[in-house]
């Protein structure tokens, strides 16, 4: 192949090897961190911290491995909107199911069991 000595591509951004390896290292460190954090009982912050670390990892993957930082802004918007709808779905379903838990008749005698 010709004319690629300057490591450029006419159609899309080329990710430097250094960045790829750096992100890879960061992801491994963060994976270690989340496992290490999980060995300590932080009570109700357990889940939040695990999610924060996972989100940081996800952002790294999206920005660098998926080229989102150098991509059209609109593609990023599309992706983020998708995630917002997931959050909408989860939050309303959790809100409602949480609210009716107290009214459930668990293991009541008249609940028909067929299996």
């Amino acid at each position: 192949m010709t004319d690629n000595h300057d490591h450029h591509n006419e159609l899309a951004h080329v990710m430097p090897v250094k960045v790829l390896l750096g992100v890879f290292g960061a992801l491994l460190v963060l994976t270690g961190a989340t496992v290490w954090v999980a060995t300590h009982d932080l009570g109700r912050f357990d889940l939040s911290l695990a999610l924060i670390i996972a989100t940081v990892k996800a952002v790294l993957v999206a920005l660098y491995f998926m080229h989102l930082r150098y991509d059209k802004v609109f593609n990023a918007i599309v992706f983020v909107v998708g995630i917002l709808f997931v959050i909408l779905f989860i939050s309303l379903a959790v809100m409602d199911t949480g609210n009716y838990q107290s009214q459930l008749l668990r293991n009541a005698d008249h609940v028909i069991r067929y299996r």
Binding site: L88, M95, N99, Y100, R115
Partner: protein, 562 residues
């Protein structure tokens, strides 16, 4: 879905400047159709498939209505009645109305209206059609080997207990879902990336805005239906304990899952219909659409709101907090819907209205959508819904929106684009008669059901008290009038295909969007040369030419409109 970048399909279609060559006759044989990547041919294949689905679903509807002639059954056993209404609902919803207008008229008109040569991913488009066919096969197989009796919603816990073909049917619907996703994805990408330089967002016909909003919902909501049905299959086949209460699952969670898709799906059904009506009203009033931006943005607003109101299907199941939130949010949808309706009415005002068949459908749409939309307010209001929930009021309401609006718009679109699609004219008098029959039949069928519902007739029961019989019989009579109207349409359209007068003019209605500025039927690559540029809803330079009985683009600025 990768690698759209292959050389075009091999069929030799280079010499389309030659007279008489169009997308229908540029290549021959069954293979050239079954392997076609041409969006127009795929649209025609969808039309054939959907007509079959409409016929099947319609037969089921007639069986249901016939059964309800008397209060203690006429032709069916209890179980068979459950099968009949489930198949009617499932076939009509998933095989006809949801693909409906986007699959047929979206596929046909979207690239043409945009000035593009095809949709973004032609092979994905063909795959959508094959997925539709596969889903349809699953549905029909489940019909033949034992049907389903859950209703089209497959609610748990009944759907995990019944011994009928739930897995077959849900797998069919799962596959149909992917057909819908890929169509929507194709449309979103096509509208974003394949617009020619002159076609800016605000120059797009409103049909395209409707299809765009629909496609957004298809992309965002339909995957949730997929996972819902997959979990239902897993629950039935294995017992994963997510929905099944006897295994520790939560059956109401299923309803959240189902309606997170299926409420937006209601707008998958209605938004393209609204797009069609915007075209019909403007073209046949010979008048610029009133409030273009408002109609365009209200489509997107409906798409957005559709995701925050799903809980109104669950008022008798949810927590009080959930009820309050969802009831309040539900009313938001009425705003963009009303914006559209008022703008259509304003477009009619002082227009040169032509009462031909497509326009009659458009007017019928406004009337029926008005009733369907307004009765929705009763159901969105928490207090009245507790009384009306699961009664015939709900049945009548959603039939007014789905049949009265979407099917009517489908028929309007069919009559509007028929000459362009096939280059054949249909019998206008018969078309008007059929339209009136459909309109009367529909109203006689469903207006009595509002009364039945408010008086307490529950849906999905085939036994009822004697006091309901009169209204039920009126409804059944209406259903048969509706069926006669639809059958009449089938007859004269078939006749038009076989022996109809040839339409040679590009622009029989005086439409201003680009599909009317190419030849009839369009060539394989949609336009000979570069696509023309023309302001949509600008009729001042589109002049009637009596010599050819069609409209021509008048270069002379001095010529009056019409």
């Amino acid at each position: 879905m990768s690698s759209e970048a292959h050389v075009a399909d091999g069929s030799a279609v280079h010499a389309e400047h030659e007279t008489g060559e169009n997308y229908l006759n540029c290549s021959h044989g069954l293979r050239s159709w079954l392997l076609t990547l041409d969006h127009k041919r795929i649209a025609v294949m969808y039309l054939a498939g959907l007509a079959g689905a409409l016929f099947l679903g319609g037969i089921m509807a007639l069986v249901v209505r016939l059964e309800l002639w008397t209060g203690d059954g006429l032709v069916l056993s209890d179980d068979l009645y459950n099968h009949a209404f489930t198949l009617h609902g499932a076939i009509m919803t998933f095989l006809f109305i949801i693909p409906g207008i986007p699959a047929v008229f979206g596929n046909f008109a979207l690239p043409l209206m945009l000035g593009a040569k095809d949709v973004a991913f032609p092979r994905l488009n063909l795959l959508s059609w094959y997925l539709w066919i596969t889903g349809a096969v699953f549905a029909i197989v489940s019909m033949v080997v034992g049907a389903v009796d859950t209703g089209w919603t497959f609610y748990t816990p009944y759907s995990t207990q019944t011994s009928t073909q739930v897995i077959n049917m849900t797998m069919g619907v799962f596959i149909l879902g992917f057909s819908s996703i890929f169509t929507g994805l194709n449309f979103v990408v096509t509208i974003h990336k394949l617009r020619p330089a002159g076609m800016t967002w605000w120059r797009m016909p409103l049909m395209l805005w409707g299809l765009y909003a629909t496609a957004i919902i298809q992309v965002l909501a339909t995957p949730v239906l997929g996972i819902t049905l997959l979990l239902l299959v897993a629950e039935r086949a294995l017992g994963v304990g997510i929905f099944d209460p006897s295994l520790g699952g939560d059956p109401l969670l299923y309803q959240h899952f189902f309606w997170f898709y299926s409420h937006p799906a209601v707008y998958i059904m209605i938004l393209p219909a609204m797009g069609v009506i915007s075209e019909l009203i403007s073209v046949h009033s010979r008048k610029t659409i009133f409030g273009y931006h408002a109609i365009a943005l209200s489509s997107v607003a409906i798409a957005a709101f559709s995701f925050i109101v799903w809980g109104h299907h669950m008022f008798t199941a949810m927590s009080p907090m959930g009820n309050m939130i969802f009831s309040a949010l539900t009313f938001s949808v009425s705003i963009p819907s009303a914006v559209k309706t008022f703008n259509w009415l304003a477009t009619l005002y002082r227009g040169h209205i032509r009462l031909n068949a497509p326009m009659l459908y458009a007017l019928a749409f406004i009337f029926l959508f008005g009733i369907g939309g307004l009765t929705g307010l009763f159901l969105g209001a928490l207090a009245t819904d507790i009384h009306l929930h699961d009664t015939y009021f709900v049945v009548a309401h959603f039939h007014f929106v789905m049949v009265g609006s979407t099917l009517i718009a489908f028929l309007g679109a069919l009559h509007y684009w028929w000459p362009k699609m096939f280059g054949k004219a249909y019998d206008e008098t018969l078309a008007k008669i059929a339209c009136i029959l459909v309109f009367i039949g529909f109203n006689v069928t469903f207006l009595p059901q509002f009364v039945l519902g408010t008086r307490g007739m529950p849906r999905r029961y085939h036994n009822f008290l004697p006091e309901f019989q009169g209204l039920h019989q009126a409804s059944t009579v209406g259903a048969f009038i509706l069926a006669i109207g639809l059958f009449l349409i089938l007859v004269y359209l078939w006749k038009s295909l076989v022996s109809g007068k040839k339409v040679t003019v590009d622009n029989p209605w005086g439409g201003s969007s680009l599909e009317w500025l190419t030849t009839t039927p369009p060539p394989h690559y949609n336009f000979v040369g570069e696509p023309p540029e023309h302001d949509v809803y600008d009729y001042h330079d589109i002049r009637y030419d009596a010599a050819i009985d069609g409209y021509v683009l008048s270069k002379n600025e001095g010529d009056a409109a019409r």
